[in-house]
């Protein structure tokens, strides 16, 4: 099996479709509650703070900080066997939401709370929100 044929593409649902569409257009977006102002990723149908359901999408600045990261030395999915070792990181956007991502320039030196900047990359026809440390 090639990496191409079984790459784990995101499952796009009515709830997440606005997120992936915006990302394909070059914008990283997150949800904000119209009632209490809480902001988060990934998409939810209701606000977990006030339980309101009047939610909107906002575009992120692309600036954030590195919360934590790991380096895979074992591939739990064969699509990633060829890229070992690879990193997966948690980034907190300056607007508050946190997301799973990759750091594209780990050779620059990774450290928690280091500032990062959005880099949108295409992979297997999907736009992914990655970051570089700055």
């Amino acid at each position: 099996m090639s990496e191409q044929s079984d790459f784990p593409l995101p499952e796009i649902t009515p709830l997440t479709e606005p997120y992936w569409k915006a990302l394909s257009e070059g914008r990283l977006t997150f949800q904000r509650c119209g009632s209490c102002g809480a902001a988060w990723l990934p998409a939810r149908a209701e606000c977990a703070r006030c339980l309101g359901d009047e939610l909107g999408w906002e575009t992120a600045s692309g600036r954030g900080r590195l919360v934590s990261w790991v380096v895979y030395h074992h591939a739990f999915h064969k699509a990633f066997a060829q890229r070992l070792p690879y990193n997966v990181a948690i980034v907190e956007l300056e607007e508050g939401p946190r997301l799973i991502t990759n750091i594209v320039n780990p050779q620059a030196g990774l450290a928690v709370d280091r500032p990062v900047q959005l880099v949108i990359e295409q992979e297997h026809g999907v736009a992914l929100a990655r970051f570089r440390v700055v």
């Binding site: 790459f7 784990p8 593409l9 995101p10 499952e11 997440t16 988060w40 990934p42 919360v67 934590s68 990261w69 790991v70 380096v71 895979y72 030395h73 074992h74 739990f76 999915h77 990633f80 890229r83 070792p85 690879y86 997966v88 948690i90 946190r98 997301l99 799973i100 991502t101 990759n102 450290a111 928690v112 992979e123 297997h124 999907v126 992914l128 990655r130």
Partner: protein, 375 residues
């Protein structure tokens, strides 16, 4: 309620690779042995609490176990808090007995990821599979990295946990992994998901275990030889997935322990031995901190120089824990707590009078605490 409820019997299967054994069959064996341990007949059992096998979820599993046990329990079903389930089931059994809903409860768990499917432990952790976010190990590694960065926690501190558990497991004839570990071998073992190495990760194991829960009064009526009183229990749920969790370096283990110690009316200084859920070494470090055995960030000092090994100030996981005895989700720790309170453990802590047991599940999503006594 303190001390009114006892663990009257314990039972377990062999641990390791048990090809061809169904989880139902292993549950029955563990329950049969728990009944035999208490020397009572199954006819007095009127409640069956079951943790579903992590490796395979199926509906009405609790009824399937009860059917195989030939029982029609007044209370019976499956409880799901992942690895925290076993202590929680014992807690709910105790509360149900106190509330007059049942009298004698079996709580049991069996799983077979070693010879069956381990896919559940390697699956994608959400919609983020495209980023390579797979496997339970990675979630714990994410937490470990942050803990190391915030508090200066070292690989040597993680190693101290693995070394203690492996030393204790080596003394346990029933343990799945009986080779002791040195710091040198730990430091040279390969990373799975950095910063966690192979020796930071628990075993994958087939096996089952069960406990029999009843009131102290009922245990006296039935002539149970070695009842172990439950002094307290508590639970706490962090709930957030790892990426969304506002803080990675503490969990609701703290609330779970506060509840259990308040109920028990004892303090940390009264604890002679601890069985701390060790799915990964970082879990033990954070549980010791969140329970209050040491200040946040000082756990490295706490675990060094053999303090958590037999003969140390707070021996943990005296039968080897998930890292050495068996990777099954938590009931084996309760069994070892019971043996310590009976004075019958292989690595017995001399004169041990109080034992705390922790269970936790998911990626530190759930937590449950049990305090046992020998009084």
């Amino acid at each position: 309620m303190r001390g009114n409820i006892v663990i009257a019997g314990i039972g377990q299967t062999a641990f390791g690779k048990l090809p061809g054994r169904s989880t139902i069959s292993m549950n029955v064996e563990a329950c049969r042995k728990a009944l035999a341990d208490a020397a009572i007949d199954k006819s007095v059992v009127d409640a069956v609490f079951v943790k579903y096998p992590s490796s395979r979820f199926e509906g009405k599993y609790g009824q399937k176990v009860a059917e195989a046990l030939g029982l029609q329990p007044r209370i019976g079903g499956v409880w799901d808090q992942a690895g925290a389930s076993n202590i929680s089931m014992i807690s709910f059994a105790a509360m149900a007995i106190e509330a007059g809903q049942c009298e004698v409860a079996l709580a049991c768990f069996a799983d077979n990821p070693n010879t069956g499917s381990r896919k559940v432990f390697e699956r994608s952790l959400g919609d983020e599979a495209a980023y390579g976010w797979f496997g339970v190990t990675a979630g714990y590694a994410m937490i470990a990295r942050r803990h190391m960065a915030e508090y200066g926690t070292k690989h040597e501190d993680l190693a101290a946990v693995a070394i203690a558990c492996r030393r204790h497991g080596a003394a346990n004839p029933n343990a799945q992994l009986r080779s002791p570990l040195t710091l040198e071998r730990y430091m040279s073992s390969r990373f799975i998901v950095e910063p966690l190495r192979r020796d930071d990760c628990c075993l994958l194991s087939d096996g089952g275990a069960a406990v029999l829960v009843m009131s102290a009064r009922r245990a006296r009526e039935l002539g149970v030889a070695h009842p172990v009183p439950i002094l307290g229990f508590g639970q706490g749920q962090t709930s957030w997935e790892v990426p969304q969790r506002p803080t990675l370096t503490s969990t609701c283990a703290a609330i779970s322990a506060q509840t259990a110690f308040r109920m028990a009316g004892v303090g940390l200084k009264d604890i002679d031995v601890a069985q701390i859920y060790d799915c990964f070494t970082i879990t033990v470090l954070m549980t010791l901190e969140d329970y209050g055995f040491c200040k946040k960030g000082e756990v490295g000092h706490f675990v060094r120089e053999g303090r958590i090994e037999i003969g140390g100030e707070l021996p943990i996981n005296t039968s080897g824990g998930l890292l050495s005895e068996t990777g099954m989700g938590g009931m084996q720790l309760v069994l070892e707590g019971v043996r310590q309170m009976r004075g019958s453990a292989t690595l017995q802590v001399p004169g041990a009078r109080k034992c705390v047991v922790s269970n936790q599940g998911g990626i530190m999503h759930t937590h449950s605490t049990l305090i046992l006594a020998n009084e």
